[in-house]
């Protein structure tokens, strides 16, 4: 937390007329925005990420070809082939178009589990941290059990049992990310709950709901949000990984992990085309990681 008091004036000059500076008061968020704007690395990766997300959203406008249109003559054409800038896949479909469209599913499957887990795990952690006692015990011990699985294993176990499909993959990844988010939320909430300003709020007669809304949420949200953004990178890799194992979406849908899987058979014919979907996964995951790191240091959050 940014609990380092930056004293503007020495206490010794703390006189009744307060003659010191009337500099414009700056809220926490404007300080954060300022700090990010002076961080070129974070800005660069944020731009890459924006580019990836926008090109996925506007894939139907910018893609040069139909991502489903097969062409047996153009099968596995290498990168740089005329009309196929990034080559063609094992069914002769334009790689560039498929990569652009593929971003839609891959990003959706990667981001939505973290978003869902942020809501569900956040509520669990907030309740456990604020109420403490037996409720905390019950929630946190249950979460410990899920924590006893390595994340990849848990995702595969649930997905494997539920069967293939985008919804099932999202459900299993959400279950994977609820425990870590709930843990972080609980620990931050517990810390803040014991601070004097929460005591002061209780002393002024506010009920639990008001205290959570006004005093806890605003201070818990930042660290938990940052932590969640750092999970998106893992989530993107895992979501595409599930598709890679045949547990995510099904052909012929364009999705980076699934594309990697189907092109795997062709690495002896057209090796570098086969590697392209992975480049996208890598770039996206790396950008999320760098952005999360940049935000974290700008917000001065230590987890």
């Amino acid at each position: 937390m940014s609990d380092k008091p930056t004293t503007l004036s020495a206490d010794a000059t703390d006189t009744i007329d307060n003659t010191q500076v009337a500099a414009k008061s700056r809220s926490y968020w404007s300080t954060v925005a300022d700090s990010i704007s002076r961080d070129p690395v974070t800005l660069a990766f944020a731009s890459i990420l924006a580019l990836i997300v926008l090109s996925a959203i506007f894939a139907d406008v910018i893609a040069p070809a139909d991502p489903y249109k097969t062409n047996m003559i153009k099968r596995l054409k290498p990168i740089g082939t005329e009309g196929y800038i990034l080559g063609a896949d094992e069914l002769g479909r334009d790689m560039l178009s498929r990569l652009l469209y593929g971003g839609r599913l891959s990003l959706m499957m990667g981001i939505s589990p973290v978003a869902l887990a942020l809501v569900l795990g956040g509520i669990l952690g907030l309740v456990a941290g604020f109420l403490g006692g037996k409720v905390n015990m019950a929630i946190m011990r249950t979460i410990d059990v899920f924590y006893a699985f390595p994340s990849v294993l848990l995702a595969i176990a649930i997905s494997g049992a539920l069967g293939a499909g985008v919804t099932n993959a999202i459900i299993s990844l959400t279950i994977v990310f609820i425990p870590p988010i709930a843990r972080v939320t609980e620990s931050v909430t517990t810390q803040i709950r014991n601070l004097d300003y929460v005591e002061a709020a209780r002393a002024s007669g506010a009920n639990a709901f008001t205290i959570i809304r006004v005093h806890i949420l605003s201070n818990v949200a930042g660290p938990v949000f940052i932590y969640s953004t750092s999970l998106i990178s893992v989530s993107i890799i895992l979501a595409s990984g599930l598709s890679f194992l045949g547990l995510g979406t099904e052909p012929p849908k364009p999705e980076w992990g699934l594309m990697l899987n189907t092109l795997r058979q062709s690495i002896y014919v057209s090796p570098w085309v086969a590697a392209l979907p992975g480049v996208m996964i890598f770039l996206t995951s790396l950008s999320f990681n760098m952005m999360s790191d940049g935000l974290r240091s700008a917000m001065d959050i230590k987890l």
Partner: protein, 339 residues
């Protein structure tokens, strides 16, 4: 004395210590044990004692921020938390608290105006009225509202933040203000300014103070009466002059003799307290002070001394065998401690 504004009876709080293989409660810290006292309307009661003696726990118990294990709190003749008494919610409107750490007692994400206005809004004031009140109070505590309303806690100095905390506590128009080491963390010069501010505010709003501090000089300066705590117990209570001039309890004497003084007349040759206070998990039997008391005898280990009026003055009570006649202590005399 007319009926007190605040009457505390048998207040007790033990904190459990978990441990062992099954993480059961293995022991208890006897933080506050059977504490009784009254606070009259308009007075300042100072509470002193070494750190860990239960001063802050007492403050939090008074505010009902932690639930007591036993004991009753009567506010203005109404018992707190009882159907036929006063609810905790209503009591908190009339009694407020200022904490020691000026930084952690303000929400870092809220401008100070919102922090001050929070209480009135909780109690049903409109946004506009609450804000107006916040500006009003800022001026009252010596901070120019035009400069400060939109500021955040990290942009203020320690003294300024504590002024904001005082304004926040006053926002509900309370009758009692509990000041838990409220000036202890401030520089000496700032401390004096804030103390003067408190004195002025007390007169202006007809406040009653419970002033908790480890600083004997400050307590003497602000208090009408003083309560001395040792290991969760009240050892002596009385008018400020009686306590400072004729302390009856050996602990009070030791505390006062350790107090730095500029007046060579007041310098005592009495031995200062040695060692740390015993563990409150397992306090000594009988009188809790006996392990550090130069006058301890067998009776001190056997019987717990009760708080009783000192013979010399009705405005002073002390919990020491030496103060009571026929207690079994060899120095037991009407006068209490030998001079």
């Amino acid at each position: 004395m007319t009926s007190p504004l605040l009457h505390v009876e048998g207040l007790k709080k033990y904190f459990p210590i978990k441990g062992g293989i099954l993480n059961r409660t293995v022991a208890e810290v006897q933080a506050v044990d059977e504490v009784n006292f009254d606070v009259a309307r308009g007075e300042t009661l100072g509470i002193v004692g070494e750190s860990g003696c239960g001063k802050s726990t007492t403050a939090r118990l008074l505010m009902q921020l932690i639930a007591p294990d036993a004991g009753a709190l009567v506010f203005d003749g109404m018992e707190v938390g009882r159907k036929d008494g006063i609810s905790v919610h209503d009591m908190r409107k009339r009694m407020q608290m200022v904490f020691q750490d000026s930084y952690s007692s303000l929400n870092p994400r809220l401008p100070i105006e919102a922090s001050i206005a929070f209480g009135p809004i909780v109690h049903g004031a409109s946004q506009k009225d609450a804000r107006a009140r916040a500006r009003d109070l800022l001026a009252k505590v010596g901070l120019n509202p035009n400069q400060f309303v939109r500021r955040y806690p990290h942009e203020l100095s320690g003294g300024q933040r504590q002024r904001v905390n005082i304004a926040r506590a006053l926002a509900l128009e309370p009758e009692v203000l509990i000041l838990d080491e409220a000036v202890s963390a401030l520089d000496k010069s700032v401390e004096a300014q804030v103390l003067n501010l408190l004195t002025d505010l007390k007169a202006e709003f007809n406040l009653t103070f419970v002033f908790i501090s480890h600083d004997l000089n400050v307590v003497r300066y602000v208090s009408d009466r003083v309560l001395v705590m040792y290991l969760g117990k009240v050892v002596e209570i009385g008018d400020v002059d009686a306590i400072y001039d004729t302390p009856r309890h050996p602990y009070t004497r030791a505390l006062l003799s350790a107090m730095p003084s500029m007046d060579p007349e007041k310098r005592t040759t009495e031995p200062p307290l040695t060692g740390d206070p015993p563990n409150p998990v397992n306090p000594p039997s009988g009188c809790r002070f006996r392990t550090r008391c130069p006058f301890a005898e067998a009776v001190c280990a056997e019987q717990e001394p009760q708080l009783r009026d000192a013979a010399t003055s009705a405005a002073q009570s002390v919990a020491c065998h030496m103060a009571g006649a026929s207690s079994g202590h060899s120095i037991s005399s009407e006068k209490g401690l030998p001079e």
